[in-house]
């Protein structure tokens, strides 16, 4: 059975890249451009891993991390994506339970390796 991954980012091209690469690696990928949609997916679906951007409009990535941890009893691994210059957000993310982070721009290859490490 395929592992299910939820990717959240307000940038469509990033989501396309993640989806393209992870599907090639044999994962089932769901994507959300808005945090509200992601929250809903987390409530209704089960996932093996979440990848989320930290800086998004309306809800931040921190809220998604909290939600992911809440629905899974802290078992769902979360990888955060962060642009350079926003290190404070990364530290906050780790404080509330993020498992790993990748700086943007990221190499899809690196993302795959980090995912494999967590799953």
């Amino acid at each position: 059975m395929k592992k299910r991954i939820l990717a959240i980012d307000d940038e469509l091209l990033i989501l396309k890249t993640i989806r393209f690469r992870l599907e090639r690696e044999g994962y089932e990928v769901h994507t959300a451009q808005e945090a509200e949609v992601a929250m809903e997916l987390l409530d209704t679906q089960t996932y093996d891993l979440v990848i989320t951007d930290l800086l998004m409009p309306v809800h931040s990535g921190l809220e998604i991390i909290q939600k992911a941890k809440q629905v899974s009893g802290s078992k769902l691994p979360v990888i955060t994506l962060s642009a350079a210059g926003l290190e404070k957000n990364v530290i906050d993310a780790f404080r509330i339970g993020a498992d790993d982070f990748i700086n943007k721009p990221f190499s899809p290859e690196e993302l795959v390796i980090r995912i494999k490490k967590l799953l």
């Binding site: 980012d9 940038e11 091209l13 396309k16 642009a83 721009p105 190499s107």
Partner: protein
Amino acid sequence: MNVQNDRFFRKLKLIAIGSFCLGLGLFLVSKVLSSIATNDLRESHSQSTYSYQVLVQSNNLELQLQSVQNHSRGYILTGDPVFKNAHNRFAERANASFSGLSGFLLQKEGQDSAVQALGTSIDALTTHTKELIGWKDAGENGRIEKAVSSLKGKKLMDALMLQTSAIKEKEQDLLQHRLKQSRKMYTIIDQFTLASSILGSAFLLVAFLFIYSSLRKKEQQEKKEGDPIPYKDPVQTLPMQINYDRLTENSLGDLGFVREMLEGYLDHVPTLVNEMEQCQVPADEKELRSLAHKMRSASQVLEIAGLNSDLERIELFPDPEKNKEELRALKEKACSTFRAAFPLIEEKVRQMKM
């Protein structure tokens, strides 16, 4: 022509006048030195001629006086009138040589006493030889024997030789001293001329290089400011570069996906650029930061380099109220860079479709 150009040409004018004055100065100094050298040469020539004449006349005088003495001795010993006539002839010549020599010597100050002493000695010698000849004619051999045994003639001759030698030595010393001075002066002039030639050439070279480089610089500056920018391949001039190789590698060589990404970028980013252009600084600060963040993310996916730092600065700009001009400039720069890049991406997509 603007103020900068005026200043520039005033500067060039000063340099040109400076180099001209220096060149003229060097020319005048060389000319003065050349005149001094010519004058010195003339004086040396005159001195040499004079000394040569003094030496020749002195030698002649010595020879003639020796002849006077020899012929008087010949007449006393043989009684042959040939010797007596020769004696008289050489005595006249000796007087003529002395007149010539004294004429030369008296051209210079401080020679009077030497000339006078020489004249007295010559008179004494010729008087003595004439007395001997007179005694010979009168048959007064006793007086002759007495005079000869007293060595009066020899003594007079030796004294004369000493005097002429002194004159010759003095003249030789003067000549050598003069030539030594000239040699010294020529060496100095020669060295100065060499140094001024090198210095003048170096100065002219430096002035030429300075003027040339200034004109080149000015030309380039004017081109930058006013002239139409020459056409160049936009890919080379854009600050924004798309790394297609990396994009292809990240897409595992799937060119269809690469094209899809580029099309997605063109569908999406121009709208963001339009929105950014409409943002007011500093009123729409928040929107501007958000757009910069989105544009940065999208560009990073496409491995577009060259814009990251500007967009990051917009996103994290510290005090837009205070530095609104700087933020506005950053915004305009980013927008114009994006606008310039879109046709290139469109062209790439078109090529990929073929």
